[in-house]
């Protein structure tokens, strides 16, 4: 089994992945959310990280909570889609100005 298969074969890990896909979060918050111990969550995160499905902030000297991020290409796709949509609206709203100018000349 590939790392990715193994990583998402577990329902808890899929839930964690979906949660992180919506918003980066730290281990403390994730364990609160799933009512799991921190070591148990850390183990799941390690497996997701090994499968390159998430990234985890590097250790902080001051011991602050490290954030975890979903590494899904899907997120990039969404971002690109919205950027395209924004460009579409920009051009349309500019076109509205030309429309108004044409109308008022009549």
């Amino acid at each position: 089994m590939s790392d990715v298969f193994k990583a998402i074969a577990d329902p808890t890990r899929r839930k964690i992945l979906l949660m992180l896909a919506e918003e980066p979060n730290n281990i403390g918050e994730i364990s609160d959310w799933f009512e799991m111990s921190r070591p148990a969550v850390a183990k799941h995160l390690k497996i997701l990280q090994n499968a390159s499905l998430i990234t985890i902030d590097a250790d902080d000297a001051d011991g602050r909570q490290r954030n975890c991020y979903a590494q899904l290409e899907a997120l990039k796709e969404v971002d690109e889609y919205i950027t395209e949509l924004e460009a579409y609206w920009k051009s349309k709203l500019k076109g509205l100005n030309s429309y108004l100018a044409k109308k008022s000349k009549k």
Partner: protein
């Protein structure tokens, strides 16, 4: 999740901009062919060129109408489901400032993640049964 926000100033009075937003022939001309009526609850469609994965139809419902001030409608089509488009007009003497917003993109994150997971051949019974259930519950 991101929201599209744009501000545009028009050298035309609010009444003319409002007309361009709410008259179906006007809106059809500068945006896309449609059958809008500025009446809350009115359902209408925009029709544009289809392409693979998109049938060219955007289903909308008028959500809010405040004459010369605010127009808001839902926008569902292609990857977008129940997003919201809002135009807010502000009169500045003989000019109009338009604050435009397109929001509600939360749904496409899930759609695209699932599509990606399935496309990668990660399909399993648990995944196809469990995921939709989880998403429906949210």
């Amino acid at each position: 999740m991101r929201t599209i926000k744009l501000t545009v100033e028009y050298d035309f009075p609010v009444e003319e901009v409002w007309y361009a937003l709410t008259d179906k022939e006007a809106l059809s001309e500068w945006l896309m062919p449609c059958n809008i009526e500025p009446v809350k609850g009115h359902k209408f469609q925009f029709k544009t060129k289809p392409y693979p994965g998109f049938n060219g139809i955007i289903d909308c419902e008028v959500l809010e109408v405040v004459e010369h001030e605010k127009l808001s409608f839902s926008w569902s089509g292609g990857s977008l489901k129940d997003t919201r488009v809002t135009f807010i007009l502000k009169r500045i003497e003989n000019k109009t400032v338009l604050n435009f917003e397109h929001s509600g993109f939360e749904g496409i994150v899930n759609t695209m993640i699932i599509r990606r997971i399935l496309a990668n051949g990660w399909k399993s019974k648990i995944l196809t049964v469990y995921l939709p259930k989880y998403l429906a519950k949210k």
